[in-house]
């Protein structure tokens, strides 16, 4: 079953503060992702891997093209959807793991992780129990759960970020370097989590610079090349 189908994506950044410099990053990019499948994005730095991932999440606005996401049985185009619909797709369907946690002062690690469940209407006790379980699996010590991650190390913050991504059974997960700042033991835990998600039918697109991780989770590789400027 196709979970996400993007085609004809074009994205040019116009930097008004740099004399209107135009950066063409995506040119006729597309991807088809099925349930239970993991696609690894590869290609040189500047090829547009992160841009594609952010576009698929509705975080970057594409200039042209369609991004159809299966939201509650219907294919919805996130590229043209209203903000409220994009938020609904993110709540129910699309999970995104960035390289960095955007920590909010005073919000505890367990609350950060439980947030996506609470937004879906899961009861607070259940959401917090699930959050604590995930944090535990990722080796975040229980005494840290009640603290805001603002003061955590980079690796700890990333594990909070990952706990948040795997706490919900998102049908589609977008992963931007999920294991970047992790030690081998934690990296292996994340590989297990990703494979568990695949086994329950989750579809994933990821950027994995670590070839060990890529080989362990990816079924297919999609190589991006830097877009040529028009002449």
């Amino acid at each position: 079953m196709i979970m996400l189908e993007a085609s004809g994506l074009e994205k040019t950044f116009i930097l008004h503060l740099q004399n209107g410099t135009r950066l063409k990053v995506l040119r006729d990019a597309g991807i088809i992702l099925r349930a239970g499948e993991c696609i690894a994005l590869t290609g040189p730095s500047g090829a547009g891997k992160s841009t594609l991932l952010r576009a698929l999440y509705g975080n970057y606005l594409v200039d042209t093209g369609k991004i159809l996401v299966r939201q509650e049985g219907q294919m919805v185009d996130i590229a043209t959807a209203q903000p409220a619909d994009v938020l609904a797709i993110r709540r129910e369907t699309l999970g995104y793991v960035s390289q960095f946690l955007r920590a909010i002062p005073r919000v505890s690690a367990v609350d950060v992780v439980a947030a996506p469940l609470l937004e879906r209407g899961v009861a607070s006790d259940e959401a917090h129990a699930k959050a604590a379980e995930l944090l535990g699996r990722l080796g975040v010590a229980p005494r840290l759960h009640v603290l805001p991650p603002v003061t955590f190390s980079g690796g700890e913050q990333q594990r909070v970020n990952l706990a948040r991504a795997f706490v919900c059974d998102w049908p589609v997960l977008l992963l931007d370097e999920p294991t970047a700042s992790l030690d081998p033991a934690n990296r292996d835990i994340v590989i297990t989590l990703m494979n568990e998600a695949k086994a329950r039918g989750a579809a994933m697109i990821g950027i994995f610079h670590d070839s060990f991780v890529r080989d362990a989770v990816a079924d297919t590789v999609l190589r991006l090349e830097p877009a040529k400027e028009d002449i």
Binding site: H16, L17, G58, N59, Y60, P83, V86, L87, I104, P105
Partner: protein, 254 residues
């Protein structure tokens, strides 16, 4: 689903076009941030949306449960009733919204009484509950707010605004005058309350960090016009307009 809508608002002050053709809409439970620098017209827009100032041209519509209807069709009294019963307004300076010569509990209770509460014991209990909700020790119920810190005053204003159960809250730089350490606490409090109560909100701020934290959607204003709008993270991470790019690039990294 649209709760509030503005169509083609114009407002002129002497030789300044404070609002120059502004249209927007707000859905139920949605949080909209209006960002821009001082003089961009954002506070004027907020005041017009909230019925505290009138536009020279254009119209604001609100759905009181029977479909969108123009505010201008309401009489003075009806508008007051709408503002009191369904809306809240949180000002930047809590001293202008609160009465410093009556107790903290009195400030909250007064709003309840204005909306019809009469039972003294109930009012006191509700006021104490709301002090707790904004993290002020309920033991301070009978203290005069004159002795409160700026952050506490702002939290008291939030309690006094939300106690009547509004469905829409207007906020004008709610953390503008506060120390950075206090801002985070207020913002977290607002974020929690707004989500828990399912409020809709229109928030004016010059701080895009505040907008990112609180808002679902953002409009960027410059010289009385909306130059860009959209999903908050999309506008801030992929700004298209020159002015938005300038705003985003002017923020110190955290």
């Amino acid at each position: 689903m649209t709760l509030l809508q503005a169509q083609n608002l114009h407002k002129r002050f002497a030789n300044l076009e404070a609002l120059d053709g502004v249209s927007l809409s707000l859905r139920r439970h949605e949080i909209l941030a209006i960002v821009g620098e001082s003089g961009s017209g954002k506070s004027t827009l907020l005041n017009v949306l909230a019925g505290r100032a009138s536009a020279d041209e254009g119209e604001v519509y609100y759905d009181r449960g029977t479909g969108l209807a123009p505010l201008s069709a309401l009489g003075e009294l009806e508008l007051r009733r709408l503002q009191r019963a369904r809306w809240g307004f949180i000002q930047q300076d809590p001293r202008q919204a609160l009465r410093l010569s009556i107790t903290a509990g009195g400030n909250i209770g007064e709003r309840l009484m204005a909306s019809g509460a009469r039972h003294y014991g109930d009012i006191r209990r509700t006021a104490a509950h709301w002090l707790e909700a904004v993290e002020i020790d309920p033991a301070r119920l009978d203290d005069l707010p004159r002795h409160f810190s700026g952050g506490m005053l702002q939290r008291l204003q939030i309690a006094a605004t939300l106690v009547t159960g509004p469905e829409l809250v207007f906020m004008d730089e709610p953390t503008g005058g506060l120390d950075v350490s206090v801002q985070a606490r207020i913002l977290d409090l607002i974020r929690g309350l707004v989500r828990r109560l399912g409020l809709a909100a229109v928030l004016v701020t010059h701080d895009i960090g505040v907008a990112r934290l609180l808002a679902d959607r953002i409009v960027v204003m410059r010289r009385g016009r909306i130059v860009e709008s959209g999903l908050t993270d999309q506008v801030l991470d992929d700004p298209h307009h020159e002015y938005t790019q300038l705003l985003v690039s002017s923020v110190l990294p955290t």
